[in-house]
């Protein structure tokens, strides 16, 4: 009986259950939980994004696993959940960033971009015939010389964070970040913290993570090479096997 009742309310995303829940949106959050984890850390000198991209086979080309994307010169987006859904949102974000450049001759703000994306996500929780995005994003960037870090979730709600984890194992990682986060870290310290947070769930090795920083000083998105990530992993002794 309970099952039947629940089924009736998860048929369409536009239908509330009697206790005010949108089951399809909650299922979309489950899809995010099933994705591999992504961590974001904000420091005074920039923002760090670190994503787990463990390969399911040694034969796969690692670079084809897309978890972190440059959206504009000064903004990067990392995802957890359905990669195909993330690609759609990333392209939407890229177009919005260029639109502001065309319209106002200025680089889009991180908060403005995040809210454009979340407004877009929200439409898919209220429109018949569509399904919600099964992905959460971390939006990292520099705005007016300040580092900013935002999260989007499948309901279309924006959140701003000092440090955050999304995807599988996020609860443990978030607890770790809450204990270890310090407001006055440098960018390298931010990379260390992000990698340590990822390692809470499983061993981390250099090839299995993707690390991107957005630097306050240069205002640009930089991807760390495998060697650079490897140096951090080795120093932290995170127990990865190369």
């Amino acid at each position: 009986m309970q099952d039947n009742q629940q089924q009736a309310y998860d048929r369409g995303i536009t239908i509330f259950s009697p206790d005010g829940r949108l089951y399809q949106v909650e299922y979309a959050r489950e899809a995010v939980e099933r994705g591999s984890a992504t961590v974001g850390v904000r420091t005074p000198s920039g923002v760090v994004l670190a994503a787990d991209r463990r390969a399911r086979s040694p034969l796969i080309e690692r670079d084809s696993i897309e978890k972190i994307h440059a959206v504009d010169d000064h903004i990067a987006v990392a995802s957890a959940g359905h990669v195909a859904d993330a690609r759609q949102l990333v392209d939407f974000a890229r177009r919005q960033a260029q639109l502001d450049q065309l319209r106002y001759d200025e680089a889009i703000g991180v908060e403005t971009l995040t809210k454009r994306v979340t407004d877009h996500i929200q439409q898919y929780t209220q429109t018949g015939g569509a399904r919600p995005f099964g992905v959460a994003l971390l939006v990292a960037g520099i705005e007016d010389g300040e580092p900013r870090l935002f999260e989007t979730d499948p309901s279309g709600t924006p959140y701003e964070w000092q440090a955050v984890a999304i995807g599988g194992g996020r609860d443990e990682m978030q607890s770790f970040l809450e204990e270890e986060y310090q407001a006055e870290m440098d960018l390298s310290g931010g990379v260390d913290l992000a990698l340590e947070a990822l390692s809470v769930d499983a061993d981390v090795d250099a090839a299995g993570v993707n690390v991107v920083t957005v630097d306050v000083e240069s205002g640009t998105v930089d991807t760390l090479s495998d060697d650079e990530v490897g140096a951090h992993v080795e120093e932290l002794d995170l127990g990865g096997e190369e």
Partner: protein, 227 residues
């Protein structure tokens, strides 16, 4: 689900006016006009005459205020077709307001000038050639915007039918380090010359003073009232 904001040349609210064939030039109110914009270290002074005319041959209004506030610290002048310019000002004002309420900070003068250029290019606001004057974090700015969407910044600029006469007064006289008071006097003199000699300009003047926190617009019957 097409996103209506995905067009840099369209306003978010409303739409650009449609071109409806050839309009009878003789019956469209034109500002004729002389408008000047001067930058100083402390702010911007924008001056205009107060005449509206039909093709520069008949004075259709003697009390026009051809400079309007469009932003907390920016003004735009009406030059060319009155209807086109008024519609242009309303559109820009609502866009600037939306931008600020969404982002919690006002548009920079450069962003406003870029948007104005996009609209001038994207929609037939008829022939308009306004000056945008504004103050932001970067300082004082004046831009002239042409009917095809050209946007040019300068230390001082003039548009309208009396522009040669006004430039004659300004050349060699403008100094970016001058005080606002000195700039007001110079702007008034620059409007006064075409008031005397250009049939499209006249009937007194209006002066807008833009500082980093305020816009003030005043009208005067003669240049002597300013000096």
């Amino acid at each position: 689900m097409r996103d209506p904001t995905l067009d840099a040349h369209e306003p978010e609210l409303g739409s650009l006016p449609e071109q409806k064939g050839d309009r009878d030039e003789a019956t469209v109110n034109k500002t004729g006009t002389t408008t000047v914009g001067l930058t100083t270290a402390d702010g911007v002074v924008v001056g205009t005459d107060r005449r509206a005319s039909l093709g520069g041959r008949f004075v259709s209004n003697k009390n026009v205020v051809k400079v309007e506030q469009i932003h907390p610290t920016a003004v735009l002048t009406l030059v060319g077709s009155v209807g086109g310019a008024q519609s242009f000002i309303r559109t820009l004002r609502s866009e600037a307001s939306l931008y600020e309420s969404r982002r919690g900070k006002p548009m920079s003068t450069n962003a406003l000038a870029t948007l104005a250029g996009n609209f001038a290019r994207g929609g037939p606001f008829l022939a308009i050639n306004p000056i945008l004057g504004g103050v932001d974090d970067e300082g004082s700015h004046v831009y002239s915007i042409d009917p095809a969407g050209g946007v040019m910044e300068d230390e001082y600029t003039v548009t309208g039918s009396g522009m040669q006469l006004a430039y004659g007064v300004l050349e060699g006289q403008h100094d970016p380090e001058m005080s606002i008071e000195e700039a007001r006097t110079l702007a008034a003199q620059a409007i006064n010359a075409p008031t005397e000699r250009d049939t499209g300009s006249g009937n007194g003047l209006a002066l807008a003073t833009v500082t980093d926190d305020d816009v003030e617009i005043e009208t005067f019957d003669t240049v002597d009232d300013v000096l």
